[in-house]
């Protein structure tokens, strides 16, 4: 066995234009989704107890087995301790001082279709540019070659408002609905797969999620079906002092294909809010899943006040032979990001890919990466991580590549690049590599660079202002990853990269 743990730290760079750093600090006003929807909400009582778990289960009209599953998770959670190994620092979270369930009052009786949903809620999504009408594309796409359909599940605080294109998807045999609905309508599928990738005992935050998850999305693609459109879920945290605990379960049956997108935003608030989600993906023989995230939770202000604590467990299980998964994430938001979308490469010849852009500005802290667990023969994985740090932010790539004894002739390639902006931020790379057989190969490349003044001056001397120059240089740095995103998301992500670093430099 070879074990390697290294840490590269580079937190200072010279010659940064002072003015630019000041501009970065002054840009806390640039979070575009920080507004709030004023709406009457029904809350469960504050705090966490068995009663709250029962209440959430009851609100969703869940069967007995699921309540028991939740309660077992809750009891286990009580005995667990919060992980503190990540390179993020925050005061202790008081788990009794927040709400675990918040639902718009107008959703008390579940609307039969999106047409019946409170217009205020629909307006919220319209303002976010998310189409809840079935003929529209994701907003902001100009000159698209041909109109494409994207089905959306809109999750607002603890509940799903509704899902578009259900009928059309049903024709193809695709199930796309909220997880609470799936529990009622497709109990066999949910019972078979829920917790089979991320067991309720997995880790502190996943166990907490298992006890209190309220909603999220469920996807099932039947054998041989190529999902006729992209599926997406938009998560919006609106209520104050409320955690969001969504649970997503995607099952791609044999030889099926689906591309799934996830977007997240939240209002600006002075207090921190907890987001502890779980995403499980099951991929059977010859199936393929692409999962893309643009995470734009409120990052907090320049002093680190407010912002989302994002503790998320995402894992894909390539359970069948030749199964394939591709994670792409653009992480620009959250005060704290703790997230490692992982691939269990169980089937022979299965493949996992992870592409990541993580941007941390001001007082943001990100500890993110992936795990590639090679169990099957001739399995392949690829990791491309681009971390960008600005302001006083700390950005850590943490990744595991593990080759088990039976995973013969397997390969991994890891490329891990960090870009520093300013002289008070930090970039850290923490790769863990374990190889337990002699025929597998692991490659790791890491670089740390900076947007340097020469590059910016060169751009500016050609007529670009400072913001355009930074955006151009940074977009060049993250290009490899942007190219893996579906077109709509790539454009959104590209402008998000520019906004996140507005005025900042190099």
């Amino acid at each position: 066995m070879t074990a390697l743990e290294t840490e590269l730290r580079a937190d200072v760079r010279d010659g940064v234009d002072r003015e630019t750093i000041d501009t970065v600090q002054a840009m806390s006003g640039s979070y575009k989704h920080g507004w709030e929807t004023e709406i009457e909400m029904d809350y469960a009582p504050k705090g966490l107890s068995e009663d709250i778990v029962r209440l959430i289960s009851g609100k969703n009209n869940e069967p007995e087995w699921l309540l028991d599953w939740r309660l077992a998770a809750y009891r286990r959670w009580l005995k667990m301790t919060e992980p503190r190994w990540a390179m993020v620092h925050y005061p202790d979270i008081d788990y009794q001082d927040q709400y675990y369930y918040a639902k718009p009052r107008s959703m008390a009786v579940k609307p039969k279709s999106l047409d019946e949903v409170d217009p205020k809620l629909l307006a919220t999504y319209e303002k976010l540019g998310i189409p809840l009408k079935e003929q529209m594309l994701l907003a902001g796409v100009e000159g698209a070659a041909e109109p494409r359909k994207v089905a959306v599940d809109a999750v607002f605080d603890s509940v799903s408002l509704g899902t578009t294109f259900k009928a059309e998807l049903a024709k193809a045999g695709v199930i796309f609905c909220s997880i609470s609905e799936a529990v009622r309508e497709h109990p066999d599928l949910v019972q078979k797969y829920l917790g089979s990738v991320v067991p309720p005992t997995d880790n502190f935050f996943a166990t907490l999620n298992s006890a209190v998850f309220s909603d999220g999305s469920f996807v099932y693609i039947p054998p041989g079906v190529r999902c006729p459109m992209e599926l997406s879920t938009y998560f919006r945290i609106n209520a104050e002092n409320t955690g969001q605990f969504e649970r997503t379960l995607i099952v791609a049956d044999r030889a099926s294909y689906v591309s799934y997108l996830e977007g997240c935003t939240a209002p600006k608030r002075d207090t921190h809010q907890l987001h502890a989600a779980v995403v499980e993906i099951v991929i059977l023989d010859d199936a393929e899943v692409k999962y893309s995230t643009v995470q734009n939770w409120y990052p907090g202000d320049e002093e680190g006040r407010g912002g989302i604590y994002n503790f998320v467990t995402k894992r894909a299980d390539c359970r069948g032979d030749r199964a394939k998964v591709m994670w792409t994430q653009v992480e620009t938001g959250s005060a704290i990001t703790w997230k490692y979308p992982s691939c269990i490469l169980r089937g022979d010849d299965s493949q996992g890919e992870f592409y990541s852009i993580a941007i941390a500005n001001n007082a943001q802290q990100a500890d993110t990466g992936t795990k590639m667990v090679h169990l099957g023969k001739r399995t392949k994985s690829r990791i491309v991580s681009k971390g960008i740090s600005a302001g006083r932010a700390q950005n850590t790539y943490r990744g595991l590549v593990s080759m088990h004894p039976k995973a013969t002739d397997s390969r991994n390639y890891t490329q891990c690049d960090s870009l520093l902006i300013g002289d008070r931020c930090g970039a850290h790379t923490v790769p863990y590599i374990e190889v337990r057989n002699a025929s597998s190969r692991v490659e790791h490349e890491a670089t740390t660079s900076k947007v340097d003044d020469d590059q910016l001056f060169y751009c500016r001397s050609r007529g670009m202002d400072e913001e355009a120059a930074v955006a151009l240089v940074v977009n060049g740095f993250v290009k490899d990853v942007l190219q893996t995103l579906p077109m709509e998301f790539a454009m959104e992500a590209q402008s998000l990269v520019a906004i996140s670093l507005e005025g900042s430099v190099g």
């Binding site: 590059q455 060169y458 007529g463």
Partner: protein, 251 residues
């Protein structure tokens, strides 16, 4: 066009004076060359005019068509019509050469209140201008200056100049690192841009570039000042005898 009067500049970091009362006037339609020994401040002059950080102007002025260059941000100087062809063009990984050019062209058009150039129109113009400089489609796609040879980098600078159509072009040792053929290509590119409304300031060590780009006026710069000004013959004199006589005369 360009009027520099009694310009004093020091390096911010070292408090070291570099330009010590430089004066220079370049009229529209003319080509001026600046020659001078190493360390005379030639590159500093070009950087200060383009607006690079790290220099402090302690006295004097530099005006472009009556506008105070020294008060402007680098991008505003560019939009006002100033262009610097870099001695060492900078690499920008991941950014396609074409994307860079188009972003620059449209940024300047926007700053001047003009409509952006459409993708189709831009492509047509850039292809035509690239062909004259023997820049192929593949080089237009590659990331800006990354992996370019010395000659490719300099040709790329001239392509940018051709696309941006500046009024005042400064060429900072554009001949350094060029072989004879590349020098000819670059010079032809520059000569094609010569017209009555445009001026050039050509900074060089060697007479041979001036065989291709014929200057109207030649200045000799030493210790942060222009010490002698003459016609094209002055460059030939330097080539024959070196700077020693001229410098001795100036003191």
């Amino acid at each position: 066009m360009l009027e520099i009067n009694n310009l004093h500049v020091k390096l911010e970091a070292e408090d070291k004076p570099i330009l010590k009362g430089l004066s220079l006037t370049v009229g529209a339609g003319s080509v001026h060359a600046i020659m001078g020994p190493n360390g005379s401040g030639k590159s500093t002059l070009s950087y200060v005019l383009a607006g690079r950080d790290g220099y402090a102007v302690t006295d004097g002025s530099a005006m472009l068509d009556g506008a105070d260059l020294l008060e402007m941000e680098p991008e505003d100087r560019a939009s006002a019509g100033l262009f610097l062809a870099f001695q060492y063009p900078v690499e920008i990984p991941g950014v396609g050469n074409m994307t860079f050019l188009r972003t620059a062209v449209n940024a300047q058009r926007k700053a001047r209140g003009q409509d952006e150039m459409s993708a189709g129109e831009f492509l047509k113009v850039v292809r035509e201008k690239a062909r004259a400089l023997k820049i192929d489609a593949e080089m237009l796609k590659r990331p800006v200056n990354v992996g370019f040879s010395g000659g490719e980098k300099k040709r790329n600078e001239i392509l940018q100049m051709a696309m941006l159509e500046p009024k005042m072009c400064i060429l900072d040792e554009t001949d350094s690192g060029l072989d004879v053929d590349a020098m000819k290509l670059v010079s032809d590119g520059v000569n094609a841009l010569r017209d009555a409304g445009r001026a050039f300031l050509v900074i060089t060590h060697y007479q041979r570039l001036l065989d291709h780009i014929r200057p109207d006026v030649v200045h000799i710069m030493a210790d942060g000042r222009i010490v002698k000004t003459g016609g094209p013959d002055l460059a030939l004199e330097v080539e024959r005898n070196g700077y020693a006589d001229i410098l001795a005369e100036a003191v």
